[in-house]
Symmetry: C2
Subunit: 127 residues, 2 copies
């Protein structure tokens, strides 16, 4: 069993987490071989360390952190690698991988492009 | 001719804009009936007012602002409607529409879910 942590920025507004939760549900439904957790950099709970610890407690030895970020700025270039290094020091037997942010995926950008175009036509598919 | 502004958060790191630019290229390629501009809330240029003004100068009377945000927090609930109200006061003949954020789109979330699952398998399609 693999582990996936969907790691998002977070915001003061707790509703901000909703699409991240929906995304976790979609990944869980599509990937029976993975346990899915969500985690946030700021404001919302849990932090990444805690989400990873939860997977480790379930006996999972292989975790991929997927940044649910549009793009790579200081948070992903500096903050995230530092957090992951700390996690590696705590869980020395864990294999932890860091994926590029979702905005790096051509398929994700294509879906966003189709959404933007549909939204400007005012069609139902905009939602 | 419609106008679409892809409105993203922005970051101190200028490289942060790259996926937003790629996205603009994809929308432009797929939607010949629209002029595409990008705009940022913070740190990067141009701001939304300026991107909209550029479209208006080209004779475009119908602009859709598409928030390239994972989710709706204070920035989209408070800041963006205020900026759009100011734009409406400046360009009284312009029809300006505000789309829900891209993280509201089921198709976008599905593409993100497929990406997350592929990334945890370490497959090429992760990128």
């Amino acid at each position: 069993m693999r582990g996936i942590v969907l790691f998002a920025h977070g915001a003061r507004d707790p509703e901000w987490a909703q699409p991240v939760r929906r995304l976790a549900g979609l990944v869980a439904a599509a990937d029976a071989g993975a346990r899915i957790e969500i985690a946030f950099l700021e404001h919302l709970q849990p932090p990444l360390e805690q989400a990873v610890a939860k997977l480790v407690q379930q006996g999972i030895g292989d975790v991929t952190v997927v940044p649910v970020f549009i793009a790579e700025g200081g948070h992903l270039k500096q903050d995230l690698p530092r957090i992951v290094e700390d996690i590696r020091r705590t869980h020395t037997h864990l294999v932890i991988r860091l994926a590029p942010p979702i905005g790096d995926s051509a398929a994700v950008l294509e879906a966003m492009a189709a959404y933007a175009s549909a939204a400007s036509h005012g069609t139902k598919s905009a939602k």
